[in-house]
């Protein structure tokens, strides 16, 4: 490794066109200068240039493999996966990896979790879907994402479905709205599919949108907790029909449409929502995906789109919207555009550090791993499982011992770890519900809880790594690949070896301490 760095330093200091460039100082970046590779990059870099901001260097392969695994499938690469990628000489290995990850089962798990937050999939108060409906709903969401159902169809099905909450899972969309008032439903729809806070709209505009959701009926059946959601033409339509029986409803963009009494107004709304002339739908979706992958929306907050909260880079947002529409609302197309860009692949070590540089994506954001991703990673490394519980004593909440947190269907299934690390309560569907500020208590938990200590002392995988035969340097390398998804550098190898030596013969304890130190490092706690 060291020889490789020295070679680079020599190359850089003598090569042409590198004036002003510092050699790579760390395992986190490559020595080359950042370059716009795609149309997306051109838009980002042009904006940076106008602002006089310098983008960071490209990330190293080790940073990329860890980042893209965490961002796309919510899962840490295994030591073998990390090693294979880093050692792969193929020049197209990054885009090949992106393609592979988008087809993994964990992709569906992870994104069903993210959409489960927004759609508030939860058995308990205040959503009260109850366990069997939660399972059905989560299964539908996960399957849709796995099959990459076009996003317009996804939205339309949620908005227009009728039937039993057990048999037509999409109808649970309406059952998650705590007060089933048309205004609350409209507010919810605006947040999820238009990325905007309708609470702030003038009352008449709110009421106009609410009218599309004023004829939804709910009725119980003989089965425990089953409920039929349906279009109920007998409910007082709003606004009141004219003599001829039809009525005029006003869409959020102020255009009006005529509805006959037999028309389910939800159909009319859904048709408008996904139509190409509606700017909100695609914008909200691509901005949200951008936020999820990049850590910050082009419009920030990512679900607070309004005229007086302009995008940091309007051309970039417009480009993504166009691409999304042209690809017939193919979400994975947007993922590929972002993940294969030089912008996504920049290092997190800023060339210029400022709030403006951050808002314009001049470097990768350092942000904590999601609670679910973090606990799954710790379990993966140590070969242990997590203990979950649910306050609702129903058979549907049986949780197998090897359950991964990212694949939990139900926001009401809890664990001490998830609570501590800020898993969202799924009360509001706001993106800000997910806590991204690590607390001192989280630190305490990882540093010194008996839960973590037990995993380190008793986990079969971590024990196998620690007790591997051979040189201490091999053990250290194994731990680095499993925990930080990279090879240790020479300094790190020396430090770790001397720690083991000072621990005397107690290699096991030294190995545990080393694993403990890596798990408690900023490099592990954060996606960077």
């Amino acid at each position: 490794m060291r020889a490789f760095f020295i070679a680079l330093v020599v190359l850089l200091s003598t090569g042409p066109g590198t004036a002003g460039q510092q050699p790579a100082r760390s395992p986190f970046e490559t020595a080359s200068a950042p370059a716009a590779r795609t149309r997306l990059d051109e838009l980002v870099f042009a904006r940076l240039k106008r602002l006089g901001l310098q983008p960071a260097r490209p990330s190293s392969d080790a940073v990329f493999v860890r980042r893209v695994f965490l961002d796309v499938i919510g899962t840490l690469p295994t030591a073998d996966e990390a090693r294979a990628f880093i050692e792969d000489p193929s020049p197209t290995k990054r885009s090949a990896l992106v393609d592979r990850l988008l087809e993994r089962e964990e992709f569906a798990d992870y994104w069903a979790m993210k959409w489960g937050d927004v759609l508030r999939v939860k058995s308990e108060f205040p959503i009260n879907l109850w366990p069997n409906a939660v399972q059905a709903y989560h299964h539908w969401i996960r399957t849709s994402l796995r099959n990459n159902v076009p996003f317009d169809r996804f939205a339309r099905e949620l908005l227009t479905a009728s039937g039993s909450n057990f048999r037509v899972p999409q109808v649970n969309f309406y059952r998650t709205v705590q007060s089933r008032e048309p205004t609350s439903i409209a507010t919810n729809v605006a947040l999820i599919f238009m990325g905007t806070r309708a609470e702030a709209w003038p009352a008449d505009r709110q009421a106009a949108m609410a009218a599309f959701f004023s004829q939804i009926g709910y009725k119980a059946t003989g089965e425990w907790k089953e409920e039929i959601v349906f279009f109920d033409p007998d409910k007082a339509a709003s606004p009141a029909p004219t003599v001829a029986g039809s009525r005029v409803a006003i869409l959020p963009d102020s255009t009006s449409i005529r509805l006959s009494p037999a028309d389910d107004p939800r159909e009319a709304f859904a048709a408008w929502l996904v139509s190409p002339r509606n700017a909100w739908f695609a914008r909200a979706a691509v901005n949200r995906v951008w936020f999820w992958l990049m850590g910050r929306g082009i419009v920030h907050e990512a679900d607070d789109i309004r005229p007086d909260n302009p995008p940091a880079n309007p051309d970039l947002l417009a480009y993504l919207e166009r691409e999304f529409r042209a690809a017939r609302f193919d979400l994975k197309h947007v993922y590929r555009l972002i993940l294969n860009s030089g912008t996504y692949q920049l290092s997190s070590i800023p060339a210029t550090s400022s709030a403006e540089a951050e808002a314009n994506f001049a470097y990768a954001l350092v942000r904590p791993l999601d609670a679910e991703v973090l606990v799954d990673a710790v379990c993966q490394i140590t070969g242990t499982t997590e203990q979950y519980s649910s306050a609702i004593p129903e058979p549907f909440t049986y949780i197998p011992p090897d359950q991964r947190s990212i694949a939990l269907a139900d926001g009401s299934i809890r664990s001490a770890f998830l609570e501590t690390f800020g898993r969202p309560p799924r009360d509001t569907g706001l993106l800000s519900e997910r806590n991204s500020r690590p607390s001192a208590f989280q630190r305490l938990y990882l540093l010194n809880s008996s839960d973590i200590q037990r995993k380190l002392q008793q986990g079969p995988k971590i024990q196998a790594l620690i007790q591997a035969r051979g040189d201490i340097r091999d053990v250290v390398t194994g731990l680095y690949l499993a925990i930080l998804s990279r090879f240790p550098n020479e300094d790190e190898l020396k430090t770790a070896a001397s720690y083991a030596q000072s621990a005397g013969g107690n290699r096991r304890q030294a190995g545990q301490d080393l694993a403990w130190a890596l798990i408690n490092s900023a490099e592990f706690r954060f996606r960077h």
């Binding site: 760390s26 395992p27 986190f28 308990e124 108060f125 205040p126 705590q178 007060s179 609350s184 507010t187 609470e199 997190s348 070590i349 550090s353 350092v366 942000r367 904590p368 519980s389 306050a391 809890r414 001490a416 609570e419 800020g422 309560p425 009360d427 509001t428 706001l430 800000s432 519900e433 806590n435 500020r437 690590p438 607390s439 001192a440 208590f441 630190r443 305490l444 938990y445 540093l447 010194n448 809880s449 008996s450 839960d451 200590q453 550098n489 790190e492 430090t495 720690y499 304890q509 301490d513 403990w516 130190a517 890596l518 408690n520 490092s521 900023a522 490099e523 706690r525 954060f526 960077h528």
Partner: protein, 440 residues
């Protein structure tokens, strides 16, 4: 900055400004009519009887209602306060009645655990657009992080498990969520999650921390980065608790054996003792979650097992707080999310159980400015309905806020930017919104 804010809240300045600006002032707001509150309480201990205790078997006995209501527990006992009689399994609390008052007309009418718990802990009706924070989270904001609290122990501590039926921090967000200790204070040591790890010596703690610093390659590459700076600060605070003096608050072995005995050698009793120690360290809100009150079956067996623990722990706590001069500045309140069906369910499958009962139930309040030796309100002859002076959760919580010196018009920050005040008003409110004037 935050100290100034605390000072303003304390001195009622914010409240006065709020009144001047509020057009609704005087529009039937009993709270607004009260003078700017003066803080008398500094800490609150909430004894949460998780599952809902029977009011008839605890603080509102109805011996005249007969066997179908009282079962075998039909011989209530007098207390040291004139005219107050309580359940026969609470003899130690009977000797402390001068220190507490009983509210026998608590009501919200909800019979489901999660919504009833939400109602009692937030003072809000379930079902609106927002999920409100529980009282502990509000205190964590207004008396804790929002008021210059610098203690290493988080301002809202739960012994030992959170309830988990709703998100205690509500719209305030995870910063104000409780720190749940986990572990069992009855065990030695009390393994408080993260603070105490048996089997790791202090020397090893120091050694591996040094190793962590040496291997901090990303931290070095990103020196000065704000997120990582905060991360490093969190580490310093964590080690203050792990190796420093602060964490010793959880070391109950520092207490004399006779003190530990007085509280009862069981998880609840020792939780009460831990709560007192936390109060001494200035922690403003402590919840003790005492499980096991959801007694649909085998109710009376459960009462004979649970009530003596409650009796000893709570009586020990009140006595000890009083002896140490802490009761005047510490509110203790004790209730569950509802009461239980006054009429015993003798039929199968319950075979002598009690169901959920939200129409009327009881609460005990003591200290921090609450008078002792009084009864507020009454239920009817069988404990089935409120007979006199209904007290809603918001009335009780609002009274405690007042004793903390918090202005009822204090705005609570929320993600949707709505105008949310500390104490509900208008349509948000159940009942008339009256403070517990008779015991304050």
């Amino acid at each position: 900055m935050s100290i100034t804010r605390r000072h303003l809240i304390r001195s009622g300045m914010l409240g006065a400004a709020g009144l001047l600006l509020a057009p609704r002032a005087g529009a039937g707001r009993a709270w607004a009519a009260a003078p700017a509150p003066k803080a008398r309480a500094k800490s609150i201990i909430q004894v949460w009887l998780w599952g809902g205790p029977s009011h008839l078997d605890t603080f509102d006995p109805k011996p005249a209602a007969g066997y179908n209501y009282c079962g075998p527990l039909d011989k209530p006992i007098p207390t040291n306060a004139d005219g107050i009689v309580i359940g026969e399994l609470l003899p130690l609390l009977a000797k402390q009645a001068d220190k507490y008052s009983l509210i026998r007309s608590m009501t919200h009418g909800i019979n489901a655990h999660e919504t009833a718990a939400y109602s009692v802990q937030t003072g809000r009706k379930p079902g609106g657009r927002l999920v409100y924070p529980g009282m502990g989270a509000v205190v964590s904001l207004l008396e804790g992080y929002g008021a210059g609290y610098t203690g290493l122990i988080p301002p809202y501590v739960v012994l030992t498990e959170v309830q988990g039926r709703f998100s205690e921090s509500g719209f305030l967000g995870p910063r104000y969520a409780p720190f749940a200790t986990a572990g069992d204070p009855q065990q030695n040591p009390f393994v408080v999650q993260g603070v105490i790890t048996p089997g790791i010596s202090d020397q090893r703690q120091r050694d591996r921390r040094a190793l962590l610093h040496q291997l901090d390659t990303l931290g070095t590459a990103l020196k000065g980065q704000a997120t990582l700076e905060a991360f490093a600060q969190g580490e310093d605070q964590a080690y203050e608790l792990i190796l420093g003096e602060s964490g010793k608050v959880f070391d109950l072995s520092q207490e004399k054996d006779e003190v530990r005995e007085r509280y009862g050698r069981n998880t609840f009793g020792q939780s009460c003792l831990a709560a007192r120690r936390l109060v001494e360290r200035g922690v403003p809100y402590i919840t003790i979650n005492f499980k096991g009150w959801d007694t649909h079956k085998q109710h009376f067996q459960a009462m004979r097992q649970r009530l003596p623990q409650l009796d000893k722990g709570l009586a020990g706590l009140l006595q000890d707080l009083s002896d140490r001069g802490l009761l005047d500045s510490t509110i203790v309140w004790c209730c569950g999310e509802f009461g239980r069906t006054p009429k015993v369910l003798w039929e199968p499958p319950w075979n002598g159980g009690r169901g959920h009962w939200g129409p009327v139930f009881s609460a005990l309040v003591a200290g921090g400015g609450f008078k002792g030796g009084h009864v507020v309100g009454a239920s009817d002859g069988k404990g089935e309905e409120v007979k006199d002076r209904p007290v809603y959760p918001a009335d009780l919580i609002g009274s405690m806020y007042e004793l903390l010196g918090l202005d009822p018009d204090t705005k609570l920050p929320n993600p949707e930017g709505l105008d949310v005040r500390l104490t509900p008003s208008g349509d948000e409110r159940q009942g008339r919104g009256e403070r517990l004037a008779e015991i304050m």
